[in-house]
Subunit: 285 residues, 4 copies
């Protein structure tokens, strides 16, 4: 959890001497107190990564954030700066499966995920009553053969209108088009895939896993990109299965994995702990 | 560990009523005492699987084993029967990596693996001194471009001559030909692949894993078949990695995985716990 | 999941030759078809354990169950027999924490737990609205200094009246008295303790774990007995923590463990997979 | 692995603003390049912890290390500084069990543990031949009833004489006296205990675990202190067991845990990643 009046910056760029000293020096000189500072160097690529979190005077918080950004850019860094207390606006996309849906909402209600869930979007009506029971607006946007492009246009209008900053695909059973994702460039989309990627990408991964006879099944939370199931991986986990488990058992056991892996990825994203570069993530946990 | 004078039978065949009663009834009527009996049913395929272990009078052990086999075949079962105390003759194939090599030999010396290691076979001389230090015969059979077929012929002659019943590829860095494997039909070959198959089959799996940015790396022990890295999986495990781990760290962390996964698979095989059907295994652990 | 018209028997008693043959023979002769049969021998104690599941004609199911029980008792076995399709009547005890409460109810609603949840019992009003939202009767029985005995009497009357067969303490924050538990002799009570027992029994286990500086925290589901946190363990699991995690993080991370471990234990209990002997369990999973 | 010409500093002391800026600023001004810098704050205790690793000119390495130490002390920090390339002198204490012994030596030979193993010390002769096979000096110091104090005096003389900086108890089956440990104040002693501490401290932990019926067994690597099995925990891990596993199986399965947990703790210690405060560790991994 972030303390009030803290700023979080995520930066990366070409490595060079003195970067830690310079960013921490700037914060100290500007009256900030560093709470957390994590660095990483990709030795092969010679890239420097940093997540740094510091307290600032409440009055000067916005100004400090933008001054720091400008300063870090003079060091050649690509920078994202956030007021840690500001709550990200989230839309959850669902279809018929409800386990990730309930899980995300209950975690949010218990205070684990510091965000504002402002919309549930679905291509089915199945979870409408449950969403309303939680007091959440439900947007039913059906997708039929031939209407996908129109549906996506509607979805994008809604996301724009509500100022959505993060889309969570909580077992939403439609592939988002490259066009949709391109229009979400500044609005990350987190997906949960029910396999240990890159194994069993695409459809029916539990069926695929059962057929191959693997001894562990997995789940993968990743940022969605135009290439299906190929985006930067945020978190993965596995659970043991045996020959005694049929496909239905895999589905059941996988639900717990999906919930936990997706929730963990969402939490890290909301806390500004995930930095994407190339097709990988650096997770400062 | 098996108690002395015990017989182990592995059977599978079309499911039908009364199989458990009939096999256990036969053993009881013939004076045996069942120590372990595990069944599995593949409900979709309607196949029955059983591993059953019982004590017999020392004098009648061989006779009982062969009588039981004949009886179970009358039930439509495919049967393998073994004297549990008989030690399987094993050859270990190695190249230059020595971690699985030392691990298997030390487990064997400590009594974990009830087998006879009768040959170390290698395409390099690197581990010759170590093998001799353990008192084990070392067979250097180099493999060069164009000499592979000849080398495999030599290997097969050696395996035949020594009566080898199990080949363990302990990071042996040559792909065995389909021809070699066909000639090993009654002599299983266990391989350790350093990834969570089916992800990252083929060469340089740690490099592949690092490039994809996975958050867990794995190892897979499987029976070798003519299709590379595609045989029935016996055991798999994974370990967590982060962005901080370079390829070398993956290699280092993976070594522990490889050792444990391979040793577990070998142990199960030696204890007659693994039954292959189709491209999968039933492991009665 | 059990198929319709199946009987499950759990038996244990002094080991002797022919037990597998006799129980499976009886079932075969009586027209049953064995679906699953698992045995275990405690070699040191010379006790035989078995879980056996078979189909019977719908008409004869009750009769067969009671005949089998009588037969197995002639073999010296202690036997419990159940109609696999019969749903156990469950009461969930809660206080203020709601994570296990929601988790159990959502699993039940999704069909994972084949039981009837017929009462939520609580010493607080906090979860009343949520219970009613799920359509579940909520029994508020406050417990104050000096009123515990009276409250337990009320609870027992309620359990008797509703025919409750299993009590789940879903983070119910009162220690049940030895007297209460004695009166629940035929009505098991499953508790979730938020540590890896026997480490950190008693109060505030996360605080204790944090103070000791352990690198893994755990959760334990066990049958409640008069000795606090000492009953037969059904399931345990752990999750990694580091020096970066404060007590609040342990509490948060522990919630997922508690949910999964408790749900797993409840599932095994409902499927008649857990056999208690001495202070231990045999879990036929 | 540390790059050549790097310095590692571990510091901790009262938290205050500007510590990151000051230490990193000093290094930058003195021509160093920071490779890794990890910080931790114990918010409750208001203590700051840091591990910082930087390159220095080969010629000035020793001078820089000592200058930095003096500088950090002016900030109120307790500081340890090491030349990352300097190899720690290690003695391994063993009795009869050989699994951790072989494991540590093979890892060291493979380059995983950058130290000098200069002595094997044992109260038995069992591993003498194996040690000599590895080319390692073996010091047989028997311990009998009444001779323990004399034996410890001999051990301490040996450790002093050889300049030993780390003692590893690789299943050494004698409790070291408080007096011995006091005399090792500047020479840490790492012990592997074969349970998930604080559960099953003291003797025969696998027997204790079996009797309690736990579903996971563990191993714990910790610094030895005068209170038995109570020192700061460096690393722990667990593995699943079932009712099918007897005490001997627990012993066998535990061996892999013990090897891996001990090796990991030793590796972290050798890389100057472990900082002890109070009875806990901060592990900068």
């Amino acid at each position: 959890m972030s303390t009030p009046n803290t700023i979080v910056a995520l930066l990366h760029g070409p490595d060079r001497a003195g970067l830690v000293a310079k960013t921490s020096g700037w914060i100290y000189e500007n009256g900030g107190n560093i709470l957390h500072a994590d660095q990483h160097r990709d030795m092969a690529a010679e890239i420097f990564f940093q997540r740094i979190e510091w307290t600032a005077a409440p009055s000067g918080l916005a100004a400090d954030a933008s001054l720091f950004k400008r300063f870090a850019e003079t060091l050649g860094m690509t920078v994202r700066v956030a007021d840690a207390a500001r709550r990200t606006k989230v839309a959850i996309f669902v279809s018929k499966f409800d386990h990730c849906f309930h899980d995300l909402i209950l975690r949010w209600k218990s205070g684990d995920h510091a965000c504002d869930i402002v919309a549930i979007v679905s291509n089915h009506r199945d979870l409408e009553a449950a969403a309303k029971g939680y007091g959440l607006p439900y947007h039913y946007i059906p997708v039929a053969a031939g209407t996908k492009a129109a549906a996506e246009t509607k979805q994008l209008e809604l996301l724009d209108q509500l100022g959505i900053e993060l889309v969570i695909m909580a077992r939403y059973m439609q592939v988002l088009s490259a066009d949709f994702l391109a229009k979400c460039a500044n609005r990350p989309v987190i997906n949960i895939h029910h396999s240990f990627l890159p194994a069993f990408a695409g459809g029916r991964p539990y069926q695929q896993a059962h057929e191959r006879g693997v001894k562990l099944i997995g789940a993968t939370a990743h940022y969605a990109t135009p290439v299906l199931d190929d985006g930067p991986i945020i978190q993965q986990d596995v659970v043991r299965v045996t020959h005694r488990h049929g496909v239905n058992d895999l589905v059941r056991k996988g639900r717990d994995l999906e919930k936990i892996v997706l929730a963990q990825a969402v939490r890290w994203h909301l806390e500004h702990r995930v930095l994407v570069y190339g097709n990988k993530t650096v997770v400062f946990d």
